[in-house]
Symmetry: C2
Subunit: 269 residues, 2 copies
């Protein structure tokens, strides 16, 4: 049951989703080589499912299936259940056209090397029509030189020089996140207020507001037209930075109007 | 000891590193609100240190200090030891000029919202001269509406609709990774062969190689000059794709020269 079916994971499944033009996550498998801690396998399964990946291959895991894997997987048990376990790396990636290996160290013979962002773009380019594997090595020693030399491309996650040893599931999370970001491109706002519920107001309305504001501040004798100092300039700078939407502007103008009524009432007593 | 010193974490420390112009990680604190599982606190500490962040603030953690936190922190125990524990969110962020809150849900009142990449850029912009806090809520419910409303900006990590609940430490890892990527910009190759150890060869040398190759293939009677078909075109396409460096080219030319010697030897017998 937990061994999965080899035939299943090799099927090329097209996403019906319109965004699949950028990256086909169904064609991308995460391959863990000789993982020691079953908890990490569970953490990887969750990281994958959170980002929409589902194909996990385990090459000679030390302990799998295991309750720690299931606990860390949380609601990604289906990824664990579909996981394919193999004896050799060759079995895990034999049908792949593009193989990426994660590498922490500089190699004696330089290999094509990218950071996760550029690597995700390369994977995305080939993913609509090819099988892709991303290999992650042992917790303590990573991939061997022999394993790295079957790869088309090496992937290096930038880290602090003080502590460069990433947890395995964290490394998988970062790659899966970069793939997800490609899928999300165009669906997540570039500008922080792209998704606003009310139109932002026009320059003309802002000018009318400033006239109203200046009049009201004069009415309440906060502003002395004979010695205005920089008061209006400072208020203009404040509201320019914030970009008022139409509803907010209406609220502020309502406050000014009410204030003026109270001033008028007070003066007519 | 484990409570840290409040004064220490508020100091504005400039990085001597030349790259600090892009982002000052010393001015960025990660704030965890009401964390339930101490293991997650440890995972967060490790994720931070891996990416070069060191300032962790815990608002009413359920269990801290705790051995599970220490186990998951691995070699980031110093981050746990420097962690500041507070009773209220106000204490945790009172001295901050820029506060970002992570948000999974759409809010009734839209708030400025960015994905991790754009958010990291905004944080980087202010980090050289301002104190920045990035808030992460409870494992099960995130941040409350009141907590989100003290934020200048909301941050949303894109996820699969099938399983959108990220592990807390994974969410922190993604933000810290995005900040690290800004620091690494210009230091990580954009092109996969930027870091090659041998110069890539010139077009002229490639043309000489093709002449040599064609002659050798003719010598060994693999290529019939009267009926060359597309052989040379295919070989040109192959070597164009790979971009030979000078050492590789010398190796190939050496092979051709040796091959020709054997043909000559054979013919002169």
């Amino acid at each position: 049951m937990l061994q999965g079916r080899s035939a299943g994971h090799q099927a090329v499944v097209g996403l019906s989703d319109a965004r699949s033009r950028t990256v086909n996550l169904e064609n991308i498998r995460i391959v863990l080589v000789n993982t020691s801690h079953p908890g990490n396998i569970g953490g990887v399964a969750r990281a994958m499912k959170n980002m929409g990946l589902s194909r996990l291959v385990l090459v000679q895991p030390r302990a799998f299936p295991h309750e720690q894997a299931e606990w860390r997987a949380a609601s990604a048990l289906d990824v664990l259940e579909r996981a394919v376990v193999t004896e050799t790396l060759e079995e895990a990636i034999g049908d792949c056209q593009f193989v990426v290996g994660t590498s922490a160290r500089e190699r004696r013979i330089p290999w094509p090397l990218l950071d996760p962002r550029h690597c995700a773009r390369r994977i995305a380019e080939v993913s609509p029509r090819e099988q892709v594997a991303v290999l992650f090595g042992r917790e303590d020693r990573g991939l061997t030189n022999d394993e790295l030399q079957v790869c088309n491309l090496h992937l290096h996650i930038p880290t602090s020089a003080d502590y460069s040893s990433l947890n395995l599931a964290m490394a998988v999370q970062i790659i899966c996140y970069e793939l997800r970001m490609l899928l999300a491109e165009g669906n997540v706002p570039d500008r922080e207020d792209d998704h606003w519920d009310t139109p932002f107001t026009t320059r003309d309305n802002m000018e009318r507001f400033y006239v109203h504001l200046e009049q009201t501040l004069t009415d309440i004798e906060f502003l002395d037209p004979a010695a205005p100092r920089q008061l209006m300039a400072r208020l203009r700078r404040l509201y320019s930075r914030v970009r008022l939407d139409e509803m907010e502007l209406n609220i502020l103008r309502g406050i000014l109007t009410e204030t003026q009524k109270w001033v008028e009432k007070a003066r007519n007593r």
